[in-house]
Subunit: 215 residues, 2 copies
C-alpha cells in the first residue's frame, strides 16, 4: 500500500518507519519540501519525503500525525482533492503546553477528529492510536496484557481498513474497540489528561489501558 504520513515529529517518523518496515511505500509529508528532519528520516528508513500535498497525493491512505492544533492547517496544505475518498487516520491530540500546564483545545464540545471530518467531508476520517505513546502504537508487545485501542468514524469500511493496518502493527482485531461515529473522537482525546498523569505516576510511557468487563 502507499501511505502518506503527515508530520515529522516522533509519531510521524515512528509510524512511517513501521509502515516502511512492513513493506509499504511511505511518503513523509511536511510543510516544506526540504525539511531536514524528513530528508534524514527518508535516507534512514528508505521512505520518501515531500510536501504535505505531495505526500497526500501519493498516499492511498493518509495518516495525520501533526499536532492536533495545527492539523487543519496541514490538511488544507495537503489539499482536499488529495484527501477525497481516502481513508484519513487521525492519530493526533489537541495538546499544547501553556504556562507549563497541559491544555486541550478543542475539548468537550468538539474534537480534532470531528473538525477534520467537517472540513474534509469527502475524506473517510478514522480516529485511532491517539490513546497510546507512539512506541506502543507500532509495538503493542511493549506493554503486557490484552490492552486495547479504539477506532471511531463515520465509514465502516474505513474503520475496517484501519483495523487491518493496526493488525499489521501487532494489534489483534479483538483488541480494537469500535466506539461508533467520529463524535467519539471527543472521548478518546479527553483521555489525554489522565494519560499524562499516569505517565507521571509510572515514570514512563509504556502503558495502556485494558478494559475489564463482566461479560
Amino acid at each position: 500500500m502507499r501511505y502518506a504520513v503527515l508530520g515529522t515529529g516522533q509519531a510521524g517518523r515512528t509510524l512511517g518507519g513501521k509502515l516502511v518496515a512492513l513493506g509499504h511505500e511511505v511518503t513523509l509529508g511536511s510543510r516544506t519540501k526540504d525539511n531536514p528532519v524528513a530528508l534524514e528520516w527518508a535516507a534512514d528508513s528508505g521512505g520518501g519525503a515531500g510536501t504535505f500535498a505531495e505526500a497526500a497525493s501519493f498516499g492511498e491512505v493518509v495518516v495525520n500525525a501533526v499536532a492536533g492544533r495545527v492539523a487543519l492547517t496541514a490538511l488544507e496544505a495537503a489539499g482536499a482533492a488529495n484527501l477525497a475518498g481516502k481513508v484519513l487516520v487521525d492519530v493526533s491530540n489537541p495538546l499544547a503546553f501553556e504556562d507549563g500546564e497541559a491544555r486541550l483545545s478543542p475539548v468537550e464540545s468538539d474534537s480534532v477528529g470531528e473538525q477534520i471530518q467537517r472540513a474534509f467531508p469527502d475524506a473517510r476520517v478514522v480516529k485511532s492510536l491517539n490513546t497510546v505513546n507512539c512506541a506502543v502504537m507500532v509495538d503493542p508487545a511493549r506493554v503486557p496484557g490484552g490492552h486495547q485501542l479504539f477506532v471511531c468514524g463515520e465509514d465502516a469500511d474505513a474503520k475496517a481498513r484501519v483495523t487491518a493496518m493496526l493488525g499489521e502493527f501487532g494489534w489483534p482485531a479483538d483488541r480494537v474497540l469500535d466506539l461508533g461515529g467520529i463524535r467519539a473522537a471527543r472521548s478518546v482525546e479527553m483521555w489525554l489528561p489522565l494519560w499524562l498523569d499516569l505517565m507521571r505516576h509510572f515514570g514512563h510511557a509504556d502503558f495502556n489501558l485494558e478494559l475489564r468487563t463482566s461479560r
Copy 2:
C-alpha cells in the same frame, strides 16, 4: 466510623448502604429534612436521614455524592464549619445532559474536585470513585481482573484514610493509584465521556479499566 453521605441518588444510596452494611453509622443528607427517598433509604438500610447540614455535622468523614454541577450548593448548605478538618470524598462527575448530549462543566481548566477544595479550604478533599458505576464502587468483584481506582488530593493522610475505606469496599491498596494533588480531578472527571461511550459499546456498566504497564 460516622459517615455523612450527601445525595440521595443511586450513588449516595449505594455508598450509604454499603457503609451501613460494613458496620458504620451513616446519615444520608439531602436538601430537605423530609426527603421521602432519604427516609425510605433510612428505613430500609438502618441508616439515618437528615439535611445536608445535619449529615455533615454528624459525619467524621463526608462523602459528596450529589451531582457535580450542584456539589457546591449542597456543600454550602452542609456548611463550611461542618466540613472543616474532615476528609471530604468527592465521587461526583460534572455531568449534565443537554439536548440529549452528555456534557461536562467544568471541564479541562477546572474540575468539581478543585472547585470544592477552593471553596472549602479547611476540608481535606479527596477525589475518588467517580470513574466507575456505583455498583462497581462498592463491589469491585463484579468486574474481573485487577482493575483500578484513582485517588487525588492535597492531604496525604486523607488519601490514606480514603484508601482504607476503599479497602473495606473490596479494593486492595495496590489497586488504588495516587495521581497526586487535587488538580488531577480534571483528568479523572474527563474520563467520563469515554466511560459513557464504553457503556454504550458494552451495553452495561459493569466494566472498569486495568492499567497495563511494562514495569
